[in-house]
Amino acid sequence: MPTPVDRTEVLRLLDEEGAQLAEALPRGEYDEEHLEGAIHLPLKQLDAETAAVLDRGRPVIVYCWDAL
């Protein structure tokens, strides 16, 4: 089950556990602005092939625009 996290925990995961950030929004929104270091992994194209850019040995933090 994916774990919901807040900003404090995101920063800890990045700093201490080498987590990867992945933005699930469409290309236009990613290009407009994304978190530093985040890769683009849009939900609509998310499959085994596109997810192959991720390192399976590290935590993955997924985000979109907000909680809505």
């Binding site: 994916p2 996290v5 807040d6 993955v60």
Partner: protein, 143 residues
């Protein structure tokens, strides 16, 4: 959207998946680094003084650097108040006793031009910028 992406990744065999619930809005509001396309509208954090004069509630004013207002912070960096720049008659008092409590604040991603226009209309010389939790990020000054 991010919960569904997180579930999808788990289905694809990733076993340590986290959902940053409040996402990009929360990150930007906290003034954390992003990559932005050129031409976006300027924000409060873009022009904020990131190193304003600060003090603790228990600081005597004689120990607080002069020349600017001083932002009063607790040990967590949370904004508690503001002490005006002219402190000459109150040097023996502590910040907590003379501060303006709870000054107005904006988030890092507040659009700059409308903010400056509002400040001008209301005769506000400076605005404190904080994270959503109230932690000091900087001060925007007009002019």
């Amino acid at each position: 959207m991010s919960p569904r992406a997180a579930w999808r990744l788990e289905r694809l065999g990733f076993d340590r998946v986290y959902d940053y619930v409040f996402g990009k809005v929360d990150w930007i509001a906290a003034g954390l680094p992003t990559v932005r396309a050129p031409g976006g509208e300027p924000r409060a954090i873009d022009v904020a003084d990131r190193d304003p004069v600060t003090c603790s509630p228990g600081n005597q004013l004689r120990d607080v650097p002069v020349g600017q207002t001083a932002i009063v912070l607790n040990d967590e960096g949370i904004v508690l108040g503001r002490v005006r720049a002219d402190r000459s008659g109150e040097l023996d008092r502590i910040a907590e006793d003379v501060m303006e409590p709870g000054p107005a604040t904006v988030r890092a991603n507040e659009p700059l031009d409308p903010l400056l226009a509002r400040m001008e209309r209301r005769g506000v010389a400076e605005m404190v910028v904080t994270t959503p939790e109230g932690r000091l990020l900087g001060v925007v000054r007009r002019g």
